[in-house]
């Protein structure tokens, strides 16, 4: 019974999500462009797949993973806070929290449908030069580092703008140094990571931390984890591109050396 009510509410939520998109698409298609899109039946079926798929996906997450993940975030953050008795926390007591933050950031990002979409597109457009799976792993590593560092920031209570500004400086330096063709994709990957799967679990973690640590307000310190999770993938994707280029360069150097030796 509970599953059915969850399913109904998720179907309604997905339809509410899709309704404006369908209205805008149909409106422009028929009023402005005034022509039938090619393969209308196939496209409509694809749209149906997406809606049903996303609904099932969310129902499954709501019954299986979100409750566990959220309880976990609460229990892990309550543990060290219980011994504090109102004192300022020692950041070293929160080792498992950082580990959980990094692990869950990585794991939820790998399963993020929007990221799957963008990485498939990138692989197709680049003619295979960008590997979809490699890109997703790079983004997931970025989110892992970002969420763990964000948890550390909430525990220590250090100012958020400081971290973000340092992050921006790193992004600017990397932009200058990396392959030009990866830059737009790297910037995009910051925005796609924080969607359906990552936001609820990460938000629960931030709220749990900010409400159990004395002197932190959930309203003010609870924010910022999502900002970290969208900034760090930009760095990790450009870093991944830089590593791949240097490996390729080394490989071409060794093959040309081998040729020289043979000659």
């Amino acid at each position: 019974m509970e599953l059915i009510s969850v399913a109904v509410s998720e179907i309604l939520a997905t339809l509410r999500d899709v309704a404006p998109i369908v209205v805008i698409l149909l409106g422009f298609q028929f009023l402005v462009l005034r022509r039938r899109p090619p393969n209308l039946g196939r496209v409509a079926a694809g749209f149906g797949y997406v809606v049903v798929g996303l609904t099932l996906f969310l129902v499954g997450l709501d019954t299986a993973l979100f409750p566990l993940g959220e309880t976990m975030a609460r229990q892990l953050t309550e543990g060290p806070a219980a011994t504090l008795g109102g004192a300022e926390p020692d950041w070293r007591d929160y080792g498992w929290v950082y580990a959980f933050a990094a692990a869950i950031g990585f794991a939820t990002t790998v399963a993020e449908p929007a990221l799957i979409a963008v990485s498939l597109k990138a692989e197709e457009i680049s003619g295979g030069a960008v590997d979809a799976w490699g890109l997703r792993i790079a983004v997931a590593v970025g989110v892992a580092v970002g969420v763990a560092l964000g948890a550390f920031r909430i525990v220590t209570g250090t100012p958020l703008p400081l971290y973000i500004m340092v992050g921006y400086v790193v992004v600017v330096i990397q932009t200058v140094r990396t392959t030009r063709s990866i830059v737009p994709l790297a910037y995009d990957s910051g925005g796609v990571t924080t969607s359906t799967v990552t936001v609820p679990v990460v938000a629960a973690l931030g709220l749990g931390l900010a409400s159990t640590i004395p002197g932190r307000s959930p309203l003010i310190d609870g924010f910022g984890l999502i900002a970290f999770a969208s900034l760090f993938p930009i760095m990790s994707v450009m870093g991944y591109a830089m590593i791949m280029t240097s490996i390729q360069r080394r490989r071409t150097v060794t093959t040309s050396e081998e040729k020289e030796i043979r000659e």
Partner: protein, 257 residues
């Protein structure tokens, strides 16, 4: 040899479809392995607790795998071709106003009802009430949350307009994004500290799972029909604008309200 050929028909279409389906399911399952491992490890090894209603969790996992597979299947046959065919149609029509109008509507329409944004806006209203920007009544807070939602939705509409315009002009993306960073940093110095966290987070919550594939296909489609544009260099970047611009708009909102 030839006379025996009809007795061995080539693998049938259904068999091929079945194999594709199995491959998609396997891919979706692989995507979920990290999440299963992480939650399993923390539940058993760190928190040392048994799994509550294991059968419900397993059933949920089946739903997640099937759902993700259908989503990926629908991307390839529905959302991607649709985004691209619209890009081609707009390019053929050649009306800048129509294209930019479409970009704005897509950004505004998909963001204004986004559940993640509604949640963040409600929390932001709580912050504003507690900090004394607005009086701490429900009516005031609801009005504040609604204004904030419209602000973010406007900013996403504006960012898709800017992003599409950039593709048409072929401007390099990093000047615009770095310029945006400079604006964010400068505004952070003047905005009330309570709004800063919300503003930074608002960039991440705007791009929903349905919007991202459409917007990506639109950008790449435009960059591939316009002569002299490279889909890799010019096609991506729309989502980047949609996550940067809301920060600027929300910081401005905090300074004005």
């Amino acid at each position: 040899m030839d006379s025996r050929a009809p007795e061995r028909p080539p693998p049938s279409l259904t068999w091929h479809r079945l194999r594709t389906l199995v491959r998609i399911f396997a891919g979706s399952f692989r995507d979920l392995i990290p999440m299963i491992l992480v939650i399993g490890f923390f539940q058993i090894a760190v928190l040392q607790q048994p799994f509550p209603n294991l059968e419900k969790v397993l059933l949920g996992l089946v739903f997640v795998v099937v759902g993700l597979s259908l989503f990926v299947r629908g991307l390839e046959s529905g959302l991607f071709p649709l985004g691209e065919s619209m890009a081609h149609a707009f390019a053929r029509k050649g009306s800048l106003i129509a294209l930019l109008g479409f970009a704005f509507c897509l950004g505004f329409g998909t963001t204004v009802a986004e559940p993640a944004l509604i949640a963040v806006a409600a929390e932001a209203a709580e912050v504003a009430g507690a900090a004394g920007f607005i009086s701490n009544t429900d009516a005031e807070k609801n009005a504040y949350a609604l204004d904030l939602r419209y602000t973010v939705a406007l900013s996403v509409g504006a960012s898709l307009v800017l992003g599409v315009f950039r593709i048409l002009k072929g401007w390099p993306i990093h000047y615009l994004i770095i310029g945006g960073y400079v604006i964010v940093v400068a505004m952070t110095g003047f905005a009330p500290p309570e709004i800063v966290g919300i503003a930074y987070d608002s960039g991440g919550v705007t791009t929903s799972t349905m919007t991202v594939p459409l917007v990506a296909a639109l950008g790449v489609g435009l960059a591939s029909v316009i002569r002299g544009r490279n889909p890799m260099l010019d096609g991506f970047g729309l989502i980047a604008f949609a996550s940067l611009m809301p920060m600027i708009f929300v910081l401005a909102f905090g300074m004005i309200v």
